[in-house]
Symmetry: C2
Subunit: 124 residues, 2 copies
DNA sequence: CAGGATCCATTGTGATACTG
DNA sequence: CAGTATCACAATGGATCCTG
């Protein structure tokens, strides 16, 4: 992730760099996708966990927290005995899903090309 | 960066995850942008270094190497006394610039919103 | 149940120096 | 000039335990 240390002196805090620092993490893109697909329905923490296979309790909590802190997701606590918490994307978060979808689309289309290239250059 | 350890068992090697592992690095996006803007002109190593302020010799070399290994960039060595090396995006690399441009566009439009949100929630 | 704290392994990044 | 090896440091991500 990293923000900037010494070189963005010229372009202090390039917006794209800052965005990638937020969405380049291991889980952000998938969580945004899942929440976007569920929208306008909100999803409970446990439900999210089920829809993001392999994510740890900690990383889900942590990622949702950063999304919430950035105003990309909204958090709602249901005040019952085993407390339940629900998340949904904000309009801002939903708007981010568009460019992410473009990336997903490219990935599905062209990652095979990258793999092919790697295989060819490995072949003697 | 990381590729997958234990959870992508269900979605082994999600293409989007793998793509982000490649372009989420600190310099990839900017280098692709610079090369895309220069295309179809190729750029020398030193010229690239000038156009990516703050990047270290090592990181530029390393990043270009991974782009080349993925078939996103092409490398040409000019065989003169002080050897010069030129880089350009391949068609595949150029095609990747489109979704990245979408991300850049979103970043320029909406990162201020994220900043505003952070400022508001900081205000008592 | 959700979330926070702690500890640890791994990786990414950077400075530097050396090679062709 | 471009590339690479080495070393050091910061940042991620994951496992586990503890709390309201």
């Amino acid at each position: 992730m990293v923000t900037a240390r010494r070189g963005d002196l010229f372009d202090p805090a390039c917006p794209t760099r800052r965005l990638l620092d937020r969405v380049g993490g291991k889980w952000v893109a998938m969580i945004v996708k899942v929440l976007a697909e569920a929208a306008p329905q909100e999803l409970g923490f446990a439900e999210l966990r089920r829809r993001v296979p392999g994510i740890s309790h900690k990383m889900l909590s942590q990622t949702l927290q950063s999304l919430t802190a950035d105003g990309l997701a909204a958090r709602r606590v249901e005040d019952c005995v085993p407390p339940r918490v629900f998340y949904r994307l904000t309009p801002l978060g939903l708007s981010l899903d568009a460019p992410l979808a473009a990336l997903r689309d490219w990935a599905e289309r062209h990652m095979p090309d990258i793999d092919d290239f790697a295989r060819e250059r490995a072949a003697p």
